[in-house]
Amino acid sequence: MALTIISLIKQVPLPSEMRMGEDGLMDRTKAKSIINIDCQFGMEAGLQLKKQYPDARLIVCSMGPGSFETSLRTAISMGYDEAFLLSDRKLAGSDTYATGLAISTMLKHLGFTKDSKEPFIILAGRQTSDGDTAHVPSQVAENIGIPQATFVESVKPDGSGNVIAKRIIEGGYQMLKLPFPCVISLTPTGIPPRKPSLSGAIKARTLKITTFGIDDIGLGTEKIGINGSPTIVAKVVNIISERPPITMSVGHNEAALVDSLISNFKKGGNVLEKKEKADKKEIERPDFPEKDFREGARGILTWAEVTNGKISRPSLELLTPARNLALQLGIDTKVMTVVIGKNVQPLAQTLIEHGSDEVILVENDKLEEYLVLPFSSIFAQVIKARNPEIALFAATTSGRELAPRIGMKTDSGVTADCTGLEIGEYVDKKEKVIYKPILESRRPTYGESKLATILGFVCPQISTARAGTFEVPKLIEGRKGIISVFSPVLNDKDFVVEILKTERGEGGLQNLFSADIIISGGRGTLADNLGLIKTLAEALKSQGVNAEWASSRPVVDEGIVEYARQVGQTGKTIRPKIYIAVGVSGAIQHIAGMKESEKIIAIDHNPKAHIFHYADFGIVGEYADIIPELIERVKAGYKFGIEAKKNL
């Protein structure tokens, strides 16, 4: 009964290595390819498991062009035993649904099914840097029909045939016990990938990589590739920066640098020169017949996630786009919100007052805490019963694994982490029809540099919405709606994953959303475990300023700071008056969470740090020198021009 450890990897271009060509454009041809960072953490998790299961067979799988062999060989040089590549031109243009389908078909072909006699575990990265959807692990798990845990920081065997996974949830983490076989997706945390060994590289040089085409694994073309995928990318436009060039502080010591910052700040920094945009010509709409592909599906379904007995903020935010879409679709379009849990009925009225027309209650003692298996099954049943045209989830760690698992059940694609949701139409020139109405899901992509519009042609059209992007809708007291109860069939098999512990700190730290000044410590401030960052925040607070401190992902990954304080794509999206980034390199995922701040001050010792491209004011220096100086100024009354509030 030897364990098989399967690592799923994807090869991606390394964005930080892309060099500027001489024409000032990114020279993608010179961009090196790497194994997606999250996948590398998945690979390492596999190698760590091997320590407890010395007999385990380590295999690595990927799907992509032949050039992906390079990454598979790297995996071998790190310690994997065998490599498999699914490579077929017919797979080109596959969306996440099709990718999940193809990979799981290959795994099943290799003998890894839910009824396998031999135990196995599939380890994947949380998400890829060139797609950022986090869908595939969920879709693979659903396709094979096995349990999953995504957004997992660490995974350890419990010694009796299970693994214990530490999963990130909103505001904290959860310890889950999963049996084999299962799928685990790893966040880039904890144990970074090891370096290849020379002996491994020598082995990798000659090792035969098994390459499959779709015929080899018995996969048809109906549901894969550009034509079989349920979603398409309809449009990609550049995101234009709204921030003027940075003003850097000058000075030969910390006192002078801080003086310079204060003086620059007072002057207000640079102003963005607005360039007049040429009016784009209206593209003529062809005279094709309109096609309503919804086949009777009507209404918008949303999920109200319950944490600590309350509706989570991102789920309330979701009602803003939901109402807006309902308005665009027509007056009779209903917004239906599903609440699953134990004694959740008291929450229903809040949802109605925030904009739900109907609250669908699913109550059961076993459902007190979110679990992807029963929740996805319940949703599939609700969708079958209500036939909504759109289903929306907040892009929390739960929403982002739940939505793709549901999408697999309904054969719908899912669009991840959207920042814009509108109703539009799609002109299909080939079929000569206009699909109308259709959900246009907009999401930033390619390192937040482009905005892609994704369309799905199967109902329900499923999207997850990035937390912090939409405002919580205004509460209308006494708003009327329907409260109904839904009784799903619950399957015991859906409760094989056990929650050992749920830890949520500081109530999800809602005050990060309302603070005027947020001081954020990055990897560069680990030396004192963010001591100075906290002191600066405290100093501002004692001056009566509504200040709070936060951190970037690496600090949370190190376990120094709770997840609730993480700013960024996988953390909170905030927009304070002043954001002070200290020792934050400026990874694009972090930028996504703070770029809407009114003024951004960046402090880092590395003048090359990416953060300086996004800041209004900058200081190059050691934080251990600069921050104490700033603290002194604050203690002497400096408040960055923010008015003190009483009763803080």
Binding site: Q48, M78, I191, L198, I202, R205, N253, H605, P607, E622
Partner: protein, 552 residues
């Protein structure tokens, strides 16, 4: 996890530069001719072949005909053929072209090139011939058995800053080899250990070095023609500073510019990178770069002690080749053809040793004989006192070089001794001349158009280092470093470093501390060479770390 991986090979070559690659190619060729099959393993610490390769470069092509007799020269990715070659006596505002070539400086028939490109080509040839090349692996330990070299070990990875094993610890691989060829390039960190262990520089001069900083530019059409090359003397160097600049016109409106300065200078605040920037502002150079853009930056040191500084190049089961052996011909600073030739001679020696199944020191002595009978010897012996002569200052040195020409290299004194570069640095209080910053006051504000600060230049080198590892620049005497190197010498590391690794931080209270930003390191090893009192030791960081030169 004390388990150690071991692999074995017939021949291990450490370093994928011209000498190591030439050794591998020639060895594979000879073995094939003899119908022998042997495993040749070549390990390179750079991310890929060429990542750590930097040179001017002007290359004498003839040696390639010998290395690759089956290949047409046109197949080798040289850049433009040298069309015209001038030596310029430079001052800030003017330039005088010397009406003649300095002896040994003629470049007719030579080619400009990116040595990195050449190495990539050679690596491809080597692999075709069956050589196994592994890049991105650092070798940090020589393996011995009974006092004899039996191979080397790759660096353990997955260590924290203090050297403690982390969970992702990966033990290095021991490579057992019948014969190991050290081809690490300039100031090889293992070669340094080998020389010390076997006292290979006994009765030899101390090796001395120059540091060259180079930038690759893209310039508007017409600024310089491809193949047009200049060497400059003079500005901004004083007579007691040995060195000069180079400007090589390349194809596609590229130009390679650089300044090479002997590390025997006395001023502890002298900064080769900054001198290079100032050199670019001279009217002669700035005209060529006008309207252009910086493409790449890099730096490397060159051993230039010449004939008398070459250590003994063989011990039981090991040979030293190329820059690691100090094989650079002065005054033209040409080492590539010598590196290739030494690699070939090492290959010949190795092939014979393998055939006779005798890799003992006695058997490998053949290598020295081959070198002494080769063009290397002739070239280096003729100019054996050149650099030592120049150590006395350009004018006297020039005279001395003149007499060497007449006396066939002996000069007036037979053999001049040289002293190690770290010994020539003066304390701040001992320096008689104006320190660097005063000499060039007003010229050290870099405009980021023509001139660049070190950080900006470093950005153009593709440099990267893993965060989780022991800092690879080690202060040897932590107790006295501040009192001596910082207080007495003014922390010369911050100036001699080509790439902003060392920062002298002075806090408000006036306390001084030398901060090490190892992530910027260009692997030029200047600090290891120049830091007073051998203050710094450069050890090899994780494999794949360091610069990532594309066309240097």
């Amino acid at each position: 996890m004390s388990y150690i991986d071991t692999v074995s090979t017939d021949v291990l070559i450490i370093g994928g530069g011209p000498s190591g690659l030439a050794a591998s190619i020639h060895l594979a060729d000879i073995l094939k001719q003899r119908g022998q099959s042997k495993k040749i393993l070549l390990i390179e610490k750079g991310r890929s072949i060429g990542s750590h390769i930097l040179s001017g470069a002007i290359i004498k092509p003839s040696v390639f005909k010998e290395l690759l007799p089956e290949v047409d020269l046109s197949e080798i990715p040289f850049n433009a053929k040298v069309t015209k070659d001038s030596t310029i006596l430079l001052s800030e505002k003017s330039s005088i072209a010397l009406p003649f070539h300095l002896p040994y400086m003629s470049n007719s028939g030579n080619y400009t090139a990116s040595l990195g490109q050449i190495c990539r080509y050679l690596a491809q040839k080597a692999e075709e011939k069956g050589v196994e090349i592994y890049t991105g692996f650092a070798v940090d330990e020589i393996l011995y058995k009974d006092g004899k070299v039996i191979g080397a070990k790759t660096k353990d990875t997955g260590l924290d800053h203090h050297g403690n094993q982390l969970e992702n610890f990966q033990a290095g691989t021991s490579i057992e080899a019948k014969l190991t060829i050290f081809a690490e390039g300039t100031r090889g960190s293992l070669t340094k250990m080998l020389i010390k262990k076997f006292n290979l520089n006994k009765d030899r001069n101390e090796q001395v070095f120059s540091l060259g900083c180079k930038e690759l530019w893209s310039v508007p059409e017409g600024n310089i023609e491809a193949g047009r090359i200049y060497h400059t003397m003079g500005y901004p160097l004083d007579n007691d500073e040995f060195g000069g600049g180079f400007i090589y016109g390349l194809n596609d409106n590229k130009v390679a510019v650089g300044l090479v300065v002997g590390l025997d200078y006395q001023d502890p605040s002298f900064d080769v990178h900054d001198a290079f920037q100032i050199w670019k502002t001279s009217s002669f150079v700035s005209k060529i770069l006008k309207g252009g853009k910086l493409v790449e930056y890099g730096a490397k040191t060159l051993p230039e002690g010449g004939h008398y500084a070459i250590p003994k190049l063989f011990v039981d089961n090991a040979l030293i080749v190329g820059d690691s052996a100090g094989l650079v011909a002065m005054p033209a600073l040409k080492g590539i053809h010598l590196a290739i030739r030494s690699g070939m001679l090492a290959a010949q020696t190795t092939a014979d040793a393998l055939l006779n199944n005798d890799t003992s020191e006695k058997s490998l002595q053949q290598y020295e004989k081959l070198i002494n009978n080769s063009a290397i010897y002739k070239e280096m012996y003729a100019v054996r006192n050149f650099r030592q002569g120049l150590a006395k200052g350009l004018i006297i040195g020039g005279l001395h070089f003149g007499t060497q020409l007449i006396t066939g290299g002996a000069g007036f004194f037979g053999r001049l001794r040289s002293q190690a570069d770290y010994k020539t640095t003066l304390k701040v209080s001992e320096l008689k001349k104006r320190p660097f910053k005063e000499r060039f006051k007003g010229k050290l504000e870099f405009d980021k158009v023509l001139t660049f600060d070190k950080s900006t230049d470093v950005y153009h080198s593709g440099v990267y280092h893993d965060e989780q590892q022991v800092v690879h620049l080690q202060i040897n005497d932590k107790e006295n470093f501040a009192a001596v190197n910082i207080e007495q010498y003014g922390a010369p590391e911050q100036f001699c470093c080509s790439s902003e690794v060392y920062e002298l931080h002075v806090n408000k209270a006036g306390q001084k501390e030398l901060r090490i930003h190892a992530e910027n390191c260009m692997h030029c090893k200047t600090c290891d060479i120049k830091s007073p009192g051998k203050g710094i030791t450069w050890v090899v960081p994780n494999g794949g770390n360091g610069p990532d030169f594309l066309n240097m």
